[in-house]
């Protein structure tokens, strides 16, 4: 099962390396959103600096989730059938897709983070904990997005519908990550927020694993 998941992840990343959808579509879109917000606020530099982290996490959530349902790896009928008939279990498929999405999401968030620091000049301690928070958030969002992509597979209006499903479920991740960064800035402990993030991830991991087979059966 692990081998199959690895091969699926590898396949998705190879396709992304060629299609460059994340780099050419999602990243510019996210940057555009990051720029639009301070433009709407106006020239209030202290305010812009204060909302910087919030703008970053919101943009990461709203635009990062698009990575899971990028067109280049959209499961067309024949490709989905092929994976099924090669004996790949739906759980392996879920974890493979999640792993690939997580890698791309985390890369997206790191790029976005650099842009956010340059644009917003937030007061932020640049510690390795930040990386851990980004990794945890990215993995959780990848799981929810992959699950939502499977639930909405083949439906018309899939992208907006999947977004409607992802956003509320991902809000605990958003709160946990944002509050963890806030605590880092204040110099207080982040353990409670990290534990909250981990708890959410465990629930998502279990949900994704258990839902994989029923969702496979729910596709014609």
């Amino acid at each position: 099962m692990t081998t199959h998941a690895f091969e699926i992840a590898r396949h998705d990343l190879m396709v992304e390396r060629r299609a460059k959808e994340t780099l050419t579509v999602v990243v510019p879109f996210g940057l555009a959103a990051l720029i639009a917000l301070p433009m709407a606020i106006g020239v209030d530099l202290p305010l812009i600096s204060r909302i910087g982290p919030a703008a970053y996490w919101s943009t990461a959530l709203l635009f990062g989730m698009q990575i899971a349902w990028r067109q280049s790896v959209a499961d067309t009928g024949p490709n989905r059938d092929l994976i099924t008939l090669l004996g790949v279990s739906p759980v392996s498929r879920f974890w493979g897709r999640t792993a690939a999405s997580a890698v791309l999401l985390i890369a997206f968030m790191l790029l976005l983070g650099v842009a956010a620091i340059l644009l917003f000049s937030p007061e932020l301690p640049l510690t390795p904990w930040l990386l851990l928070i980004i990794l945890t958030f990215g993995l959780g969002l990848a799981m929810i997005s992959t699950l939502a992509a499977d639930i909405t597979s083949g439906l018309s209006g899939r992208a907006p519908l999947a977004s409607v499903l992802v956003v509320p479920l991902a809000l605990p991740l958003l709160v946990g990550a944002a509050q963890a960064v806030e605590s880092l800035t204040r110099g207080s402990g982040i353990l409670a927020w990290l534990l909250m993030l981990v708890a959410v991830e465990i629930v998502l991991a279990v949900a994704g694993t258990l839902a994989a087979r029923p969702l496979e059966e729910a596709v014609r």
């Binding site: 639930i151 519908l161 409607v164 956003v167 509320p168 029923p214 729910a218 014609r220």
Partner: protein, 237 residues
């Protein structure tokens, strides 16, 4: 339909009694009359929790039994749950403005988690609407219905996990902190709202059954609609 009418009649009687008790109960010491909205707010929230548990139960039973009844139960209960979650939030906001000074306190865990729960179940209903095939709809919605119920205990216990503006549970095993007259009114309204839920659920199930019947009346075989083309005179050879 008789069952629905009986339930509605009972609900109307209980609601009338609950309303009378809510109005005649003594005003709260600090919040005065504003606190009377508790008798709508708390039962609405309670109903929402119940409704979403029933949705999860229906989803689980559908996965086991694969009968339309269970999917219909899950969907009907989710619709009612969304309605009462919205009522709970709205009454909470109406209550919050004069008492806390804000309609929506972003720092309050109970409000925030309830709002999230509303959005998740709106997504559940959107998913159902977007899936035309009944089997696929039931299959996908059942997964979401089971996953989403995890939030309900989170919303309920949020006031215990994070102490902010919202009060903790009013009805507790060790006894209630509110005046007995208020408690009496609250309990009667809880019962009334439960009857309202059952009546709405029964009615919605009847409507759902009629919708299903219209949807599942067996149509002609798909291939029967495909006929050989007729090209008489269409092409000059």
């Amino acid at each position: 339909m008789t069952k629905v009418r009986v339930l509605m009649a009972l609900a109307a009687i209980a609601a009338g009694l609950g309303l009378y008790l809510a109005i005649s109960a003594p005003p709260e010491a600090v919040q005065r009359t504003y606190a009377r909205i508790l008798h709508i707010h708390a039962p609405s929230a309670w109903l929402a929790f119940l409704a979403f548990f029933v949705t999860a139960f229906g989803s689980i039973m559908w996965r086991i039994r694969r009968k339309e009844f269970w999917d219909r139960l899950a969907a009907s209960s989710a619709e009612i749950g969304v309605l009462f979650t919205a009522i709970a939030l709205a009454t909470g906001m109406i209550w919050g403005k004069p008492v806390w000074g804000v309609f929506f306190d972003w720092g309050d865990a109970r409000m925030a988690t309830t709002a999230i729960m509303l959005l998740v179940y709106l997504g559940y209903l959107a998913l159902r609407r977007a899936t035309p095939d009944p089997q696929l709809r039931a299959a996908r919605a059942s997964v979401l219905g089971i996953v989403a119920v995890v939030q309900v205990p989170l919303v309920y216990f949020s006031v215990n996990l994070v102490r902010t503006l919202h009060q903790t549970q009013t009805i507790r095993p060790e006894g209630s902190p509110i005046h007995p007259a208020m408690l009496r009114a609250l309990l009667v309204n809880l019962a009334a709202f439960t009857l309202i839920y059952l009546a709405l659920l029964a009615g919605r199930m009847v409507v759902g059954r009629l919708e299903e019947k219209a949807e599942t009346e067996v149509a002609p075989v798909a291939g029967a609609a495909v006929l050989p083309p007729r090209l008489d005179g269409a092409i000059d050879v």
